[in-house]
């Protein structure tokens, strides 16, 4: 067995170690340790990706001495490796870009705690990506939730703590339903490992035995994960959480945490319940409807919003709606589009959050649009970055947003039943996006005599560098989408 096969396990355990050790370190040391760990994890994930591409098949890794149905297992394929690589990259960039704000906003005694949260968050994300065992998934979902809560409330104002509370409540509802679903699934199949559950569920679906409990279980799992990833009616905690936490947290939360749950849902769709069974039960139509509703409502409340960070947060409600709409369409193409949208949204949204924080710095720390007027001239790189993000969101060709919209539309026209609602809602939400993002871009480029000083690019080298990387990532996703889509398709084929 090739040594690279150990890397998934190693990267998870390494992150956990980083968390444990950071709790005994001072803030600075914890920061460096964390940076080191992130880099190593990125390299390992790249190796895993390359290895799986080379061998052309996924591999399972037994955690311990005991093989499949008895011991824990993790599993790595192209999609897993790619996701792990992407997550760690986004996390590195967000952390570097938000470093200065972090030093301002987090009190130095508790800095190491912040990095504990980051490390364990990454470990849980990796575990969610790699795991092959539902119960392990549950445990790491909990870790994910708690560390995300820590990220929200590390900056201690009334807003963030209230937001953290709301977030915890929603997530607890979600994990309760998820756990109950897992238990019922175990009761019907007698397994916790994904392959075995899949096999048994196929048998049950054919024999028609336990039909009603199976449907209820699928419903509970889907709805639970939807709640946790802030699908439309359950998004009340989101604007405060993203709008007032420190900027790296906002970027990481919006681009990674919810995506972790969505990826788990993807695994459950493909590897636990099975594509046909889950779309045979009409459960996914619920997701579809809520996704559509989210696309509209999120954008509407974003238009009403008068605070740039909250506006971006609401727009990510809309984007999550896109992803669930893709799942709800229920075709392979649509799922590919959703996965691509996960990537493009992660890249764009973190870019938007961080550049917005740069603009806010250039406007005396006020997040109101009236003060942001002309901030694009005061902090040039942030202005450019924000415009790029906005254009990508609006769906200008050459940027990632356009590609994902195109993919969704192409998927929609293949599904004649849901074609019209999808296309219409897609068009409406795109126009709404255009309205609020273009409004913002025009405003930040409207020259005014402002008392706030100009922030030269030299002062924030790291920030500028991170911005450039994000822009490059975005354009890469926009231009070389074909390559990415091929990767996603191979990964999904390895799933089944």
């Amino acid at each position: 067995m090739n040594f690279i096969c150990n890397f998934p396990c190693f990267s998870i355990v390494l992150c956990i170690f980083g968390g444990i050790i950071s709790s005994a370190l001072k803030g600075r040391a914890a920061k460096y340790l964390n940076a080191f760990i992130l880099a190593v994890v990125a390299v390992m994930s790249a190796c895993v990706l390359g290895y799986t591409l080379q061998t052309g098949e996924s591999f399972t890794y037994v955690m311990g001495r005991f093989p499949a149905p008895w011991g824990n297992e993790i599993r790595a394929g192209v999609l897993e490796g790619g996701m792990a690589l992407f997550f760690s990259l986004i996390m590195i960039l967000s952390l570097f870009a938000g470093r200065e704000k972090l030093n301002e906003e987090v009190d130095p005694e508790k800095m190491n705690l912040y990095f504990i949260m980051i490390n364990l968050l990454l470990s849980s994300l990796l575990a969610l990506v790699y795991t092959n065992d539902l119960f392990t998934a549950y445990v790491f979902v909990e870790i994910n939730t708690i560390s995300a809560c820590g990220l929200i409330m590390i900056r201690q104002t009334g807003r963030t703590i209230e937001a953290a509370t709301r977030y915890m409540i929603m997530s607890l509802l979600g994990s309760g339903m998820l756990l109950m679903g897992i238990c019922m699934l175990y009761d019907m199949t007698g397994h916790l490992l994904m392959e075995n559950i899949h096999a048994n569920v196929q048998i049950l679906a054919e024999s028609g035995q336990y039909h009603i409990p199976l449907m209820v279980t699928i419903g509970m799992i889907c709805v639970g994960l939807a709640i946790k990833s802030a699908l439309f009616p359950f998004h009340t905690w989101l604007p405060d959480a993203y709008g007032y936490s420190t900027v790296s947290s906002a970027a990481i939360l919006s681009s990674l945490v919810s995506k972790g749950y969505i990826f788990l849902l993807l695994k459950i769709i493909y590897r636990v319940v099975g594509f046909d069974v889950i779309y045979g039960s009409r459960v996914t139509d619920i997701l579809f409807v809520f996704g559509l509703a989210g696309m509209i409502m999120g954008s509407l409340s974003a238009i009403k919003e008068n605070d740039i960070r909250r506006m971006i947060a609401f727009s990510s409600v809309a984007q999550i709606g896109y992803i669930y709409m893709g799942f709800g369409l229920g075709t392979q193409v649509a799922v590919v589009a959703s996965v691509f949208h996960i990537l493009s949204h992660a890249a764009t949204k973190s870019l938007l959050f961080i550049s917005a924080s740069g603009l806010v710095d250039a406007s005396g720390g006020s997040k109101k649009f009236i003060d942001l007027t002309g901030s694009g001239y005061r902090n040039k790189i942030a202005g450019v970055a924000f415009s790029v993000g906005a254009l990508s969101m609006v769906g200008l060709p050459l940027f990632s947003g356009f590609i994902s919209k195109l993919l969704f539309a192409q998927a929609a026209v293949r599904n004649s039943g849901k074609m019209l609602p999808t296309l219409i809602v897609l068009a409406i939400s795109t126009i709404l996006n255009a309205i609020y993002f273009m409004k913002t871009v025009i405003r930040i480029y409207t020259p005014v005599e402002s008392e706030y000083p100009v922030i030269p690019v030299k002062r924030h080298k790291v920030f500028g560098l991170a911005m450039v990387c994000f822009i490059a990532l975005n354009v890469f996703l926009g231009l070389c989408s074909d390559l990415v889509i091929r990767l996603i398709e191979t990964g999904l084929s390895m799933f089944a």
Partner: protein
């Protein structure tokens, strides 16, 4: 609403948790930004009073009343709907206690039949969670760890703040040096400790294990603190000790488990003897891991209590 309250008002206050037993008498010190701007604080107070006059006065504000009614009705209906769906599902699930159920399959059979030989643990459950499904348990321990970290973020106060704010006297709300409590604690605490250690060490041959044993230890320490106060406790258990034990335990646990994973996954035989089943020194990795988990859990329990109590260990 100073005059005498009717039962209805009392009930509604109880129902919405409005009445506030000790407004000014919170044992934990107030938060920084809350202290700095006195003016805004007064504003909150005033607004809160007004709100109590206008908004939350159920008697006069018809809209709120209607909203709350509908909210309650909605809640109940939702609850009933969910329960009925779940009951429907349950009614189709396999019968309880039936040996032919799908969950009594080869998995559990192998756990029971080969568990002793595979793990060396008489307690099959302990063998299962610490050796077959070790990864889950490792994650679970980290859930505890990260939860304590979060509580620290929220409630930890640095030492000088503790001393300056006069909260170092943490027993302000309780009888000083309660004689009965101290005497009983003197007798009970050692027994509890011994029992906890016993449960921890026998995790693999009898019911119990790291988590339960650790919880018992933690309970003992909490009792000790209640009886004798933090000053005496800190003589033998302060923050540094806590950190050393916690980080040490977790790190060793991590190293052991990684060794176990690596050896197992790459098909190398690990050199840890399983020993004779039923003896204390047996079951390979399970015993040390139990001890480590126990320490971790004990620390966590105590840390929760201490942090809630006075915002510091």
């Amino acid at each position: 609403m100073s005059e005498k309250k009717t039962h209805k008002q009392k009930f509604s206050e109880w129902f919405y948790g409005e009445n506030d037993p000790f407004v000014a008498a919170m044992p934990v010190q107030e938060q920084k930004e809350h202290q700095v701007d006195e003016k805004t604080l007064q504003e909150y107070e005033k607004e809160r009073a007004e709100r109590h006059e206008k908004v939350f006065d159920i008697a006069h504000n018809g809209k709120i009343r209607a909203f709350r009614r509908s909210y309650r009705v909605l809640g109940v209906m939702m609850c009933l709907l969910m329960i009925s769906i779940l009951l429907l599902a349950v009614s189709y699930l396999p019968r309880t206690g039936n040996p032919a159920n799908p969950d009594n399959n080869e998995v559990s059979r192998v756990y029971i039949e080969n568990g002793l030989q595979d793990t060396g643990a008489v307690n099959v459950v302990a063998g299962m969670i610490l050796s077959y499904r070790a990864f889950d348990t490792f994650g679970e321990t980290n859930v505890l760890f990260i939860a304590t970290c979060c509580v620290m973020i929220l409630l930890m106060l640095d030492e000088k703040a503790l001393h300056t704010s006069g909260l170092s006297n943490d027993r302000f709300y309780e009888p000083k040096n309660d004689w009965i409590l101290q005497k009983i604690a003197k007798i009970l605490v050692p027994i509890i400790f011994v029992f906890g250690i016993y449960v921890m060490l026998n995790g693999h041959i009898s019911p119990g294990g790291g988590f339960s044993g650790g919880a018992i230890l933690g309970a003992g320490m909490i009792l000790y603190v209640n009886a004798f106060g933090f000053k005496k406790t800190q003589k033998f258990f302060n923050e540094t000790v806590y950190k050393v034990i916690k980080v040490g335990a977790l790190c060793i646990y991590g190293v052991l488990i990684t060794y176990f994973f690596f050896m197992g996954a790459n098909g190398l035989n690990n050199h840890i003897p399983l020993g004779i089943p039923g003896h204390i020194l047996s079951a390979g990795l399970i015993l040390p891991i139990d001890v480590l988990v126990g320490l971790e859990v004990a620390c966590t329990m105590y840390a929760f209590y201490a942090l809630f109590r006075r915002g510091g260990l």
